[in-house]
Assembly symmetry: C2
Homo-oligomer: 119 residues x 2
Amino acid sequence: MAYDRMVQKPARTEVESIDAMPLDECREKLALLAKGISHPARIEIVRMLAGKPPDCQCICGEIVKALPLAQSSVSQHLKVLKETGWITGESMGASVLYCLKEGILDYYRQLMERIITIN
Amino acid sequence: MAYDRMVQKPARTEVESIDAMPLDECREKLALLAKGISHPARIEIVRMLAGKPPDCQCICGEIVKALPLAQSSVSQHLKVLKETGWITGESMGASVLYCLKEGILDYYRQLMERIITIN
DNA sequence: TTTCCATATCGATCATCTACGATGAACGAT
DNA sequence: ATCGTTCATCGTAGATGATCGATATGGAAA
């Protein structure tokens, strides 16, 4: 009975073809991604990153400044976004560059369509 | 500092025009809807309802049978979906008919686009 | 009205989320 | 080596989430 718990182990969402994906897996992946954006702060982060050119530069510090939260809280939200498959983070010296995972928005849209449409 | 907590009081998502909606509000509404589908069981429920004709008939009992959860747990999930604005429920004798809120899928898509695209 | 369904709610338990300040770790510059 | 900057992690507190069995509620049927 019951569903597996979700985040805990970094069950990362990988961007991949969904055509052949079993329905269960679609559900799990969509649920995980939805959890990723289930908080206004995290939506704001995704929004900021989506506005950047694809050569991806958004420094953690900017994000912290843009949000009404303590640095440690923002760091937590960034971690959730990483664990749920929305973003990647890359160290650049002392700073960290975050960017949206390539194609993740389309991927999310497609999961929605698949879930809602099929069967 | 910090964002308001979300669900608690039934801050229902109403389907309405988003063109004139302030960005904050978009964020809040999208976050709430995303929270609604942040669990596989709730995605499955939305999927079942989306597959029904628009004259909306899905009896609670069917949903309970379709999910690997106790009746009380399913009832909880249905409550969350109501509170987050995804579904409506209407009593029909002893049973309850659930259906997707009219236009909610488009609404969700539009919120996504607005958030990701604007500014 | 008594019994039987179908749902909702209650109470308990345990896990997770959100937030913060404090501390740690990595780096660049002095 | 030391210092300041940048970011992650820890520890904590309180709220919320997920799940179940048990119980309440309300309509249907007997």
